[in-house]
Amino acid sequence: MTARILIVDDQPDIRKLIRLTLQHLEDAEVHEADNGSDGWRLAQDIKPDLMLLDVMMPGGLDGYQVCEKVKQHPELGANTKVILLTARAQQEDQEQGRRAGSDAYLTKAFSPLKLLDLVDDLLGRTV
């Protein structure tokens, strides 16, 4: 079954890198948004199986807030897995990610292989 994946990151090169990485997945449909508010709107629209959310985004909702909204949403909450992507590696930042309900927390710069393993794991696939 095709997995719908939504990337939300303000940096185009990071979005591109994630997209290039996800090309190595079987049956994945990848969508993108470049800010939290658009990401949240798109998530309600396409109901992704997985979201890759940057934490720090300028201009509006940040990754923690979008994650909270997704996890509190009646339809998305149980069905959408969330990976927070961030350059913030402090313990308290990870704790905040857990409080927001994220399923995983990946620190930038990340290994694409590790990302793929994580995505497979969260989507319940085996490599």
């Binding site: 890198l17 990485t21 190595h24 985004m57 930038k108 990340f110 290994s111 292989l113």
Partner: protein, 387 residues
């Protein structure tokens, strides 16, 4: 490296910063679009520079080098230009990656003045602030013990009650030292403000709580209204933003019109509003001060100009220091302070950019590209396996 099918090179071409990949012998193996568009033509000029060659050979040869960035002067159509070259500390797929940026030329010195070397003014500025910070830290450390002792003595007096008459001024003294300390921290051009995440309503509520005794003594109440759900966070220095809010709310409480006998208590109203990519925190009161007066104080202190007039110099420190400090803190965070009168009601608005600051993640991009390159062959193998 074939360009069309290599995802790493596709990726590097998308990076907005100029990037070069060198063979370990110092020849350029790849340059991205941004590098090719540079006026200084680094593809032609950098391989001929002995310092660049040495740095590339050291990194390419796996030798650990302490310094991976250098400045190089090259000839361009516009004359001599300085380029800063930052190298990734490890080769990517056997190649040495270098990010190139143009270093802005110093402005021409005015006639009759001495030219200042690039970076010297910044360094001087940093040193001056550092010495001010050290002096402030010494003053605070020196006074901490006697202030603590006086406070303890005032609060443990058995009769008739804790000496509010004494502890009040001591607390004020401590607060003023903190304000001066914050003032020193925001002087200069190279102030680092950090990237702490804050939710303004939370921070404002905590400041209101801290100011409640003062507000009660003045017969003033705080009313927090306006949209609060879905407000984006603010990133920066929590301590400094808190200082800005405190100064603003403190002023609003202190300069409110006194309530008439038997009349309703006066209120300081705090509102929040998201406006595009900015957040507005507004503080409204029926105050004794006018917008032009507050604007005059807010614009003082950090601006070069004639010394303060006598009227300004006599003003309370909260206005003389607090307001310009608030304005400066907002400015450092990419925001601004606005003051308006509206039918006798004073509106002080603190505007801050919503969300994280715009980033220059140049180094992260390079590091990320390096990790990607290291994983590339395994990714390909994985694809073949799953296919």
């Amino acid at each position: 490296m074939p360009t069309a099918s290599n995802p790493l090179l596709v990726l590097l071409d998308l990076v907005p910063s100029p990037l070069l990949l060198f063979n370990p012998d110092g020849r350029v193996a790849f340059s991205n679009r941004a590098a090719q568009g540079m006026r200084a033509r680094p593809v032609l000029s950098l391989p001929g520079d002995p310092n660049v060659r040495e740095l590339v050979r050291a990194i390419g040869g796996g030798k650990i080098v302490m310094q991976t960035d250098i400045e190089v002067q090259v000839n361009s159509d516009e004359g001599i230009e300085t380029l800063r070259c930052d190298c990734a500390p490890k080769p990517i797929a056997g190649l040495v990656a270098m990010a190139v940026t143009e270093v802005a030329a110093p402005p021409p010195a005015a006639a009759g003045t001495d030219a200042v070397p690039v970076g010297a003014a910044d360094e001087e500025n940093r040193r001056e602030r550092l010495s001010l910070q050290q002096i402030m830290a010494l003053i605070k450390a020196d006074l901490a013990e006697p202030i603590g002792a006086v406070l303890d003595a005032a609060q443990t007096q058995p009769f008739p009650a804790p000496d509010a008459g004494l502890s009040g001024p001591v607390l004020t003294l401590r607060e003023r030292l903190d304000r001066l300390s914050d003032l020193i921290d925001v002087f200069g051009e190279d102030v680092l403000i950090g990237e702490e995440r804050m939710l303004l309503p939370e921070l404002a509520r905590s400041v209101c709580q801290e100011l409640t005794p003062l507000a009660q003594a003045q017969g003033v109440s705080f009313i927090i209204d306006g949209e609060q759900a879905d407000l984006p966070p603010v990133y920066g220095s929590r301590r400094l933003i808190r200082r800005a809010l405190r100064e603003c709310l403190h002023n609003a409480v202190e300069h409110v019109h006194p309530a008439g006998p038997g009349g309703p208590p006066q209120a300081v109203k705090i509102g929040f509003h998201a406006a595009g990519t900015h957040l507005l925190l507004s503080v409204r009161n029926l105050g004794v001060l006018t917008a032009p007066t507050l604007t005059r104080y807010a614009n003082g202190l950090f601006q070069a100009g004639p010394a303060a007039d006598q009227d300004t110099a006599r003003a309370p420190a909260a206005l003389r220091i607090g307001l310009p400090l608030t304005r400066r803190i907002l400015q450092l965070h990419g925001g601004r302070l606005k003051v308006e009168d509206d039918a006798g009601e004073l509106h002080v608005m603190l505007e801050l950019p919503a969300g994280a600051p715009l980033r220059n993640t140049h180094h992260l991009d390079l590091l990320q590209a390096q990790i990607y390159a290291e994983d590339l062959s395994k990714l390909m193998a994985r694809s073949r396996r799953t296919a």
